[in-house]
Assembly symmetry: C2
Homo-oligomer: 673 residues x 2
């Protein structure tokens, strides 16, 4: 990370985002500690007593070559094209270093130090999450509008892959509520081949995003948009389960459609289903509350709980955590009892699930149904923006877990993208639908003591065992109890808590979240989040277009009055005409020299250069002095490329003063002639 | 323009873009001179000798309430809703002031002072442009793919309306090459009703844009995108005329399609048409060069030209300027001669043009052709994004004229939008297609001595006269000569001149222009400009997302080493995670107190607040001191809404020093316990 532009300064390091990203794309940026960690912070001035500002401005001046809005290549373009080959070579070489190997295969770092404590922690955590994921995956398949076995098909391979590629011990790879509801809204009840293709394509996109270092795209989903989206998704998921809970038939993919359909079918309500479902929800919520019960002394007190108390607390915690599995087993028995007792079973059961592991086959790139052939392009058109949005939201959920348990460590988004990408591509060959790190299981994973990503092994094995041996028993699970599991979980995904702080923080952010929420409900989820992101980007663009200008009337040391105008942001195309209008308006009125303070201007472009050219011409026509103060050399280079006449730049106050007096005298002399 | 937030400072005025825009939308911002021109710049400090920087930072601190990224309403939302009615009332009242009347009806300002000199200037200019516009409008109709009379129908009403509403004497309202080719690509050879509806809808959109102050949207079309688009449009227009020039049949709307069609039909080339067309182009280009001939002494010498020389120069200028009209008349005679001499006319003539003024009728909002009815929504879907792009590009062309002849005066985009909007709506009732200020005629208008917008009267009258009396003679005008007129004009629209300065200024801008150019040629014009604008916005977003951070190791006055991090831009959602990662990375490595210099941070949002909250928590966990230096109060308010713990802010160097020593001692004491 040495500075190409000639880094003569020891004390300053400017982070060039371009280079950082490139590095990440090609296999991670190099770690500055290694190469120049010593010289980097070598500067220290024990006698430093001067003012902050003079110090800072000096540093900025030196560093300002890096401040162009878009870094110019210092070489010609033909050269640049020629350097693509060595660049690729360098990337490959870089990717083969030992450090890079450790980055790309994190297992190498932790496996040699794996000890018995790690093994126990991972075993407990893996089995706990395994017990969670089996009922969840059946339920998520129903959210995605697929037969239940597809949930199990999606739940094991990702776990194994994440052991090798994953960076965060708390990420449980597998189907998630959000990915499932997105799959449903995108596939809209078509055959499972679409969901499998979506998984494959999402994986490919994730790998591409990883390779090109596009992990930063998640930064464009802001907190408010994410909250609005998640809350709406939760409500839509809840809505999608109401029909199973009430034992009625209903269709529709958006919130409004589904509720309309539910209300028009409410007459078919089944008492047994509704009762079982409602009871299940209540039981689940009570079992969730159980963790609040703590035996022994309070945590704040100094005395430790005794053995019995510890055991009781642990038991309660385990029961509470495996509440979904317990409920499924109990309801399964009820289902079995009802199935054997009644001729006409009064509750809807999951029904037959094919036993055994899924057939390994290439995802369908075209489909034949009867006489009609659906081509790959037709299928792609059906998936539409989902092919981009599923990867984006998969990454968002995964990164959210990494962040939650990072403890201030930085996150390797590129490596996570690779893990999710490989998992999705591989899973699509096992007939799975899109998967990612599941936020809902990550907290359990963390609190049940996971120590390395190896915990996924036990989860995966449990799911495989379920597929091989338990599927006949799944027949008896009532649909209403699965619906209850989902509903009891997703109601906590509605982010009511953020409303107050968001309102206090920034009203516009609150309205943005609300708009995203409503758009996701009324339109489709994927449209809603695009609307939210779009609106958010408009805010940024608007404020890039309308900088603020502070205007002062000052008097130079030699008694010349002048106007000092200070724009607060970059001079780039959407703002520069606005700035010109303001400058012109005020300078025409005052008829005194004008100084434009460019301290805050870090970038400029061709449009700005043309406008500055016109501005200097206008001032020259009016015989009015115009001085650019503290213009960064890089910006000045852009402006001077058009060789504007009478373009005066000065870099310190004295210079401004002397320029002012010289120019004013010149003008007076000219006017007198 | 008094400051709502309580403007206690005399010296500082912060331009709040929100309010400015509101003002413009509701009928123009008020002119600051009138209301507070005196107090505004009342501050002057004759004894000013201090440093710029300390001065400026003080001013910024005071003004910083205005620096939030999004201005918060100071009142509650319910109140805000209640104030909508008075706001509307105020807008209406404002719109009725005398000043506003002058702004909205600029004719009131200049008509009372109209004198004989103005009358002569306008008469000459108006007639000159009238002679230009008649052949041009026939040609433009052919560009738009419409029968020639529609060009004339579009050319008179706008001139009359602009007299009353227009702000710039040099704007010739009427059909233009760009608007015509856009119309062609949008309507794609459908019946004229579509073009007329496009004109009507464009007018409505322009009026709405004017009312809501959306004139700033043209700022989002940067110089490079505009150059790329104009050059591509010129080539497409040229391409569209080649078939008439060669006398062959060809179809297609994009550049590539049309050329493919031309090449496959080249065998039908008509020698007469080609010869006439080529000869016309050569004659036109030579006549264009005539203006270079100057009799008499050179302009730089002191002696003035004598009467004869003046007369000769003026004659040459008039002949050169009316070259299109002359060519049309001459070629018309040739056409007449050929028509009467040959049974099978060897050149294609324009043919019958219905005589008389157009029938006044409401634009068609639905269409019946045979059995099929096309509904309004179907027609709207056909016009598609054109309904937005035509107004945008119409405004762009009009504003370009205003800027070119503004001589440093500011431009009233709102009023121009109203002028264009009313002109388009009105013209659509006279069966015209979209019109705007025509860049090609504006230069002639300016150089032929236009003094007020009244020159449009003569142009309009000439066009009406043409419609009433001359249409029978238009029958004989060869199509090839009209094509020649267009080609000889548009080749100068290809902006070859900007390539060099753009390349020197900023390579990325050059590539952007090139990409827009290629996209406009290969895809359609309206798609190409959207691609260009989109790419340009991506640049802005990327640089909003990746600020640069300068890092220094400093030592406080009492000998404590600390890291000083200075981000250079706003902390808003796409960048804040990136900043957090960088801050964390460097602070974890150094384990010394960290000071974040927030001098350049003018805005923050909820996402930033949550990240800052996490950051302070992380630092607290690590027992590392984190101080925010020089944080604007508005930004600080946003951060503090989440009540982060250990959130330290200081506003001057001494404060930082004392905070550093106090906190370091505290932490040491805590660690020793």
């Amino acid at each position: 990370m040495t500075d190409e532009t000639g880094n003569t300064k020891f004390s300053v390091k400017t982070f060039d985002s371009d280079r950082d990203l490139q590095g990440e794309g090609g296999g991670g940026k190099d770690n500055p500690t290694g190469k120049n960690g010593e010289s980097l912070f070598g500067y220290s001035n024990p006698a430093f007593t001067g003012s902050f500002h003079s110090k800072l401005s000096e540093v900025e001046m030196k560093g300002s070559n890096d401040f162009t809005l878009i870094d110019e290549p210092k070489r010609s373009t033909i050269k640049a094209i020629k350097t693509v080959v060595p660049w690729l070579k360098q990337k490959v070489q870089k990717a083969c270093t030992k450090k890079m190997l450790h980055r790309r295969l994190p297992i190498i770092s932790w496996l040699p130090q794996y000890n018995s404590q790690d093994a126990i922690g991972d075993l407990v955590a893996g089995i706990t999450v395994g017990l969670m994921v089996i009922p969840q995956s059946l339920a998520y398949a129903s959210i995605a509008g697929l037969p239940p076995q597809y949930g199990l098909y999606s739940s094991f391979l990702g776990c194994f892959i994440y052991i090798v590629l994953g960076t965060c011990k708390d990420v449980p790879m597998g189907p998630t509520a959000i990915a499932s509801i997105l799959t449903f809204q995108i596939v809209q009840g078509r055959s499972p081949e679409y969901a499998i293709l979506l998984s494959f394509l999402s994986g490919i996109i994730e790998l591409l995003m990883g390779f090109f270092g596009l992990g930063f795209l998640v930064d464009f989903v802001s907190g408010p948009v994410s909250s609005g989206f998640t809350s709406a998704a939760a409500l839509i998921i809840l809505t999608s389960q109401v029909k199973d809970l009430l034992g009625i038939k209903a269709s529709g993919s958006t919130f409004v459609q589904t509720w309309t359909s539910i209300i028009s079918n409410i007459h078919g309500l089944s008492g047994w289903d509704t009762f079982l479902g409602a009871a299940s929800i209540i039981v689940l919520l009570l079992m969730r509350l159980m963790t609040k019960i703590k035996f022994g002394p309070e945590e704040t007190s100094d005395s430790a709980p005794n053995k019995f108390q510890k055991f009781a607390n642990a038991t309660i915690w385990i029961i509470s955590t495996s509440r979904n599995a317990i409920l499924v087993v109990v309801c399964g028995f009820i289902g079995y009892f009802l199935f054997t007792s009644y001729e006409d079973v009064p509750v809807k059961l999951i029904g037959d699930i094919p036993s055994g592991l899924p057939e390994i086959k290439v995802p369908a790139f075209s489909m034949n149904s009867g006489n009609t052939t659906t081509s790959f392009l037709d299928m792609l058109a059906t998936l539409g923006s989902g092919v981009i949005l599923v990867p984006l939201l998969a990454l968002l959920e995964d990164i959210a877990i990494c962040k939650a348990f990072a403890n201030g460590k930085s996150i390797d988004a590129t490596q996570e993208l690779l893990s999710i990408g490989v998992s999705n591509v591989a899973t699509s060959f096992f007939q799975g639908f899109p998967i990612t790190g599941a936020l809902s299981r990550s907290a359990v994973l963390n609190s049940s003591g996971a120590r390395t990503p190896f915990n996924g092994f036990y989860t995966g094995v449990l799911v495989i065992a379920a597929l091989l041996f338990f599927t006949p028993y799944f027949f008896y699970i009532p649909k209403a109890s699965l619906a209850a599991i989902i509903i009891a979980a997703v109601i906590f995904m509605v982010e009511v808590k953020v409303v107050r702080p968001m309102w206090r923080c920034k009203k516009s952010d609150f309205f943005l979240a609300l708009a995203t929420f409503v758009a996701c409900l009324v339109l489709a989820l994927e449209v809603g989040i695009l609307v939210g992101i779009g609106m958010n980007l408009l805010f940024i663009l608007y404020y890039a277009a309308r900088p603020k200008i502070t205007i002062e009337k000052l008097v130079s040391s030699n008694g010349i009055e002048y106007l000092m105008l200070t724009p607060d942001r970059c001079l780039i195309f959407p703002s520069v005409d606005y700035v010109r209008n303001l400058v012109t308006k005020h300078s025409v009125r005052q008829e005194i020299p004008v100084v434009i303070d460019c301290s805050h201007i870090y970038g400029a472009d061709y449009t700005a250069a043309t406008v500055i050219d016109t501005l200097t011409k206008d001032f020259a026509c009016r015989n009015q002095v115009l001085i650019f103060y503290n213009l960064k050399p890089s910006v000045s280079n852009v402006f001077e490329a058009l060789s504007p006449k009478e373009f005066l730049v000065s870099y310190n106050e004295e210079d401004v003063n002397s320029l002012l007096s010289r120019k004013t005298t010149e003008l007076k002399a000219r006017c007198n002639i």
